[in-house]
C-alpha cells in the first residue's frame, strides 16, 4: 500500500497550500468585509457605458 503515502503527501500538500492561502487571505483582510462584495458584483459594466454616453 505504498501509494497511500504518495497520495497523502499530495493531499497534504494541496491542503497545506489551501491552508496557507487561507491564512494569507485572513491576514490581508480578504475576509474583513463579509457583506459588500456580494453587492458589489451586481454593480458593473452597463453603468460605465451609460456614463460614457453622457460624457
Amino acid at each position: 500500500m505504498g501509494v497511500i503515502v504518495i497520495l497523502i503527501i499530495a493531499s497534504v500538500l494541496v491542503a497545506g497550500g489551501f491552508l496557507l492561502a487561507f491564512l494569507w487571505s485572513v491576514k490581508t483582510g480578504q475576509m474583513d468585509d463579509d457583506y459588500t462584495p456580494s453587492v458589489r458584483i451586481l454593480f458593473e459594466d452597463e453603468l460605465i457605458i451609460k456614463k460614457k454616453e453622457i460624457l
Binding site: M1, G2, V3, A10, D34, P37, I41
Partner: protein, 705 residues
C-alpha cells in the same frame, strides 16, 4: 485616484460558449447512443469502433471534459474579468487555451473509438494527450493567475477562490494519476499496479467530480445566480465558510469508491468519515444558492434563466445528499456496481452541470451579443424537456437499480442463489428503454436550446471588446528600508505557493514513485505469477475494448458474491495488474474468477460467446466481438511490453523479452488445438486467442498450490 479604461475580452467567452453548445449536443447524442445500445445491442453495436466498451468512454469524456469543461472556461473567462476588473492577462494565451482544449477533445474523439485507452475511468486518454492536457491546463492557470495579479479589485470574490482551487487541485490530480510508462506511441501502462492503481484512480476519480464538476460550477453559481436574480447572495459569510470547508474535506473522500474491496480498512473508514462530513458544506452551498432567491420567487416564474438555475441547485442538493449516504458502508454494499449509481451521477451531470450551463448560456449570450433572447417560449420548452428528461432518466434507474441488487442478493429457502445473472440483465431491459427515453427528452431540449442560442447569436452583433472603467489598484504595501527578504514572498503568496507546490510535487513524485512502488509490488501470495506473453496481449485487448465498463474484477466478501463468483478478491492477486481492472459497474457479471472454480468455461464456450454473445446467452446485451477472429495479434509489441513490465517491477527473467513470442505461440497453439477438437478452425495468431487465454487465466492463481 486615476480611473483606467480597459476592455473585457468577450471573444474568448463566445468561443467557449459555442464549443459548449456543440460539444454538449455531441456528447449527449453519444450518451443516447450508448443508452440505446443496451436496448438494441445487436443493432447499435458497430464493431469494432463503435462497440459499447469504446463508446461509453467517449460519452463520459465528451460530457465531462468537452461540455462541462468548455462551460467552465466560458463562465470563468466571463466572470473572472468582471470580478477582477481586468482584461484577461494575454489574448494569445486565451487563444492557445481555447484551441488547445478543442484539439484535445478532437484527439479524444478520434483515439477512443480506435481503442487507444488507458482503461482508467475518466482518465482513458493515452499519454501524448495527457501531456497536451497538462500543457493547456498550465496555460489556463498562468493566464488566470496573471490576471489575478494585475487585477483592479483588491478583494477576491468567493467565485475566484473556487476557480483557484479548481486549477490547483485538478493539476495535482492529473499529474499523479497519469503517471504511466509509454510502450508505443499510443499505448502505456499505469505506473501503479492493482490495489495501488485502484486507490490512485479513485482518489483522482472522486476528486475529478469534486474539482472539475463541482468547485468551478459553485464558483459560477456564486457569480451568475446573483447576477441573474439581481440580488446579492443570501450570505456572503456562508459562501466563504462553504468554500474553505468544502475544499478541505473533499480531497479525503476518494476511498468511498473502494469500500469492501482489498483496500485497508482504515483507509476506507477515513474516506467514509470525510464523505459524510461533506454533506454540511455541500448543503450550506445549496441553501445559500436557493435562499439568494428569497423574496424573488416571482422572478423564477418569469425568468427562464432562474428556472434552470433553481433546478440545477436543487439537483446539486440531491446528489450531495445521496453521495454521503452512498458512502456509508451498509448502503454502499447494496448500491455499488448497480444502476442506482448511474442515476446518481446523472442527477449531478444532467441536473447540476447541465442545467446550470444552459441557464448561464441563456443569460450570457444575449448580453455579449447586445440583443434579446430569440425565443423565450423555446427556452421554456427546453426547460421542461430537460427537467422531465432528468426525471424520466433517474426514476427508472433508481427503481431498477434497487431491484437489480435485490435479485443479485436473493437466496432460495434452500440456500441457493435465486436468480441467474442473466435474469437480472433481461429484467433491466424495459428500464434501460425508459432511461433512453429520458435521455432523448433531455437531448431534444438541448437541441432546441442550440437553435435558440444560434438564432440569438444571428440577430445580434458580438461585442468582442467590451468597454469598462475602474480605478487602478492602490498599492497596499510599500517596501521600506531594511526589511527582511522573506517579505517579498509574503507579498506574493499565490504565485509562490503554486510554484513551491509544483516543484515539491514533481520532485517528490519523480524520486519516490519508482522506487517505492516497484518494491511494494513484491507479491504477498507466492502462487501469483506474472501473466504469460499471450495473456498479457489478451489483457491489453481487454483494456482496449473497455470491458471494464460493464464487468468488474472485484469480488467483495459477501455471501451473495462468493456464492456467485467464488472466493473473495485478495490484494495480493492484483500485483501485476497495470492498470487495475476492478471496474465500477456490473452490467455483466464479475470476471475476477472467470477462469477458476464453478465459473470456468471451455475455450469453445468463450470463442462462441465472444463471436455472438446472444447465441449463447439469450437476452445478453453484450456486443459481438467477432472481429477479434479476423484481426491478427500484433506480436511485434510483445518484447516492448515485457520490457515495460520489467521496468515496472514485474519479475520476468532479464532476457525473457526475446523469447516471449515463442512462448506466446506455443500457448496460442494449445488453445487452437483445443478449439479444433470442437470443429473450430482458427489460426493461432488471431486476437481472440489472446483474449481467451487472458479470460481463462483470471482468478486461477490462488487455486494453484
Amino acid at each position: 485616484m486615476q480611473v483606467e479604461s480597459f476592455q473585457y475580452d468577450n471573444k474568448t467567452v463566445r468561443n467557449f460558449a459555442i464549443a459548449t453548445i456543440i460539444w454538449g449536443v455531441v456528447g449527449m447524442t453519444v450518451g443516447l447512443w450508448v443508452a440505446l445500445q443496451l436496448v438494441f445491442p445487436t443493432v447499435l453495436n458497430l464493431q469494432p469502433y463503435f462497440n459499447f466498451g469504446r463508446i461509453r468512454p467517449l460519452h463520459t469524456n465528451a460530457v465531462i471534459f468537452a461540455f462541462v469543461g468548455n462551460a467552465m472556461f466560458m463562465g470563468i473567462y466571463y466572470s473572472l474579468q468582471r470580478l477582477l476588473k481586468a482584461r484577461m492577462f494575454s489574448d494569445v494565451l486565451s487563444t492557445i487555451h481555447f484551441w488547445g482544449w478543442q484539439l484535445i477533445i478532437v484527439a479524444a474523439a478520434i483515439t477512443l473509438p480506435l481503442g487507444f485507452s488507458t482503461a482508467k475511468e475518466y482518465a482513458e486518454l493515452e499519454w501524448p494527450i495527457d501531456i497536451a492536457i497538462t500543457l493547456i491546463w498550465v496555460v489556463f492557470g498562468f493566464n488566470m493567475f496573471a490576471t489575478i495579479i494585475k487585477r483592479r479589485e483588491r478583494h477576491l470574490y468567493v467565485a475566484v477562490w473556487f476557480y483557484i482551487a479548481t486549477f490547483v487541485t485538478v493539476a495535482v490530480l492529473h499529474l499523479v494519476n497519469s503517471f504511466e510508462l509509454p510502450v508505443t506511441l499510443f499505448k502505456s501502462y499505469s505506473w501503479y499496479a492493482g490495489v495501488q492503481d485502484a486507490l490512485v484512480q479513485w482518489w483522482y476519480g472522486h476528486n475529478a467530480v469534486a474539482f472539475f464538476l463541482t468547485t468551478p460550477f459553485l464558483g459560477l453559481m456564486y457569480y451568475f445566480l446573483p447576477k441573474a436574480a439581481n440580488r446579492p447572495v443570501f450570505s456572503y459569510k456562508l459562501s466563504i465558510i462553504h468554500f474553505w470547508a468544502l475544499i478541505f474535506l473533499y480531497i479525503w473522500a476518494g476511498p468511498h469508491h473502494l469500500l469492501y474491496t482489498a483496500l485497508p480498512n482504515w483507509a476506507q473508514s477515513l474516506g467514509i468519515v470525510f464523505s459524510f462530513m461533506l454533506i454540511f458544506p455541500s448543503w450550506g452551498g445549496m441553501i445559500n444558492g436557493l435562499l439568494t432567491l428569497r423574496g424573488a420567487w416571482d422572478k423564477v416564474r418569469e425568468e427562464v434563466v432562474l428556472k434552470f438555475m433553481v433546478v440545477a441547485v436543487t439537483a446539486y442538493g440531491m446528489s450531495t445528499f445521496e453521495g454521503p449516504m452512498l458512502s456509508l458502508k451498509s448502503i454502499n454494499a447494496v448500491a455499488h456496481f448497480s444502476d442506482w449509481i448511474i442515476a446518481h451521477v446523472h442527477i449531478g451531470g444532467l441536473g447540476w452541470n447541465g442545467m446550470l450551463t444552459f441557464g448561464i448560456l441563456y443569460w450570457l449570450i444575449p448580453r455579449i451579443y447586445k440583443t434579446q433572447l430569440y425565443s423565450k417560449k423555446l427556452a421554456n420548452i427546453h426547460f421542461w424537456l430537460a427537467t422531465l428528461g432528468i426525471l424520466f432518466y433517474a426514476i427508472p434507474m433508481y427503481w431498477a437499480g434497487w431491484q437489480q441488487v435485490s435479485m443479485w442478493k436473493q437466496f432460495t429457502p434452500s440456500g441457493q442463489l435465486k436468480y441467474q445473472f442473466l435474469e437480472t440483465v433481461t429484467y433491466m431491459a424495459p428500464f434501460y428503454a425508459m432511461r433512453a427515453l429520458g435521455g432523448a427528452l433531455y437531448l431534444t431540449g438541448a437541441i432546441i436550446g442550440m437553435v435558440n442560442y444560434f438564432k440569438t447569436i444571428g440577430q445580434g452583433t458580438l461585442q468582442a471588446n467590451e468597454e469598462a472603467q475602474a480605478p487602478a489598484l492602490e498599492k497596499a504595501y510599500t517596501r521600506h528600508h531594511g526589511e527582511h527578504w522573506h517579505r517579498w514572498i509574503e507579498r506574493r503568496p499565490t504565485p509562490f505557493l503554486l510554484l513551491s507546490l509544483v516543484v515539491i510535487l514533481i520532485g517528490g513524485l519523480v524520486e519516490l514513485v519508482p522506487t517505492f512502488l516497484v518494491k511494494s509490488n513484491i507479491p504477498t501470495i507466492s502462487s501469483v505469477k506474472p501473466y504469460t506473453p499471450l495473456e498479457l496481449q489478451g489483457r491489453d485487448i481487454y483494456t482496449r475494448e473497455g470491458c471494464y465498463t460493464c464487468h468488474s474484477q472485484m469480488i467483495r466478501p459477501f455471501i451473495s458474491e462468493t456464492e456467485r463468483y467464488g472466493e473473495y478478491s485478495k490484494a495480493g492477486e492484483f500485483v501485476y495488474d497495470h492498470p487495475f481492472q476492478w471496474g465500477s459497474k456490473r452490467t455483466g457479471p464479475d470476471l475476477a474468477r472467470e477462469g477458476a472454480g464453478n465459473l470456468k468455461k471451455s475455450n469453445t464456450w468463450h470463442y462462441n460467446h465472444l463471436e455472438e454473445p446472444n447465441a449463447i446467452s439469450t437476452g445478453s446485451v453484450m456486443p459481438s466481438y467477432s472481429f477479434l477472429i479476423d484481426h491478427n495479434l500484433d506480436t511485434s509489441t510483445t518484447p516492448l511490453k515485457i520490457n515495460a513490465m520489467r521496468t515496472l517491477g514485474v519479475p520476468y527473467a532479464a532476457d525473457y523479452a526475446s523469447k516471449a513470442n515463442q512462448d506466446l505461440m506455443i500457448q496460442a497453439k494449445g488453445i487452437t488445438d483445443d478449439l479444433n477438437k470442437d470443429g473450430i478452425k482458427v489460426p493461432p495468431n488471431k486476437e481472440i486467442i489472446a483474449l481467451i487465454a487472458y479470460l481463462q487465466r483470471l482468478g486461477t492463481d490462488i487455486t494453484k498450490k
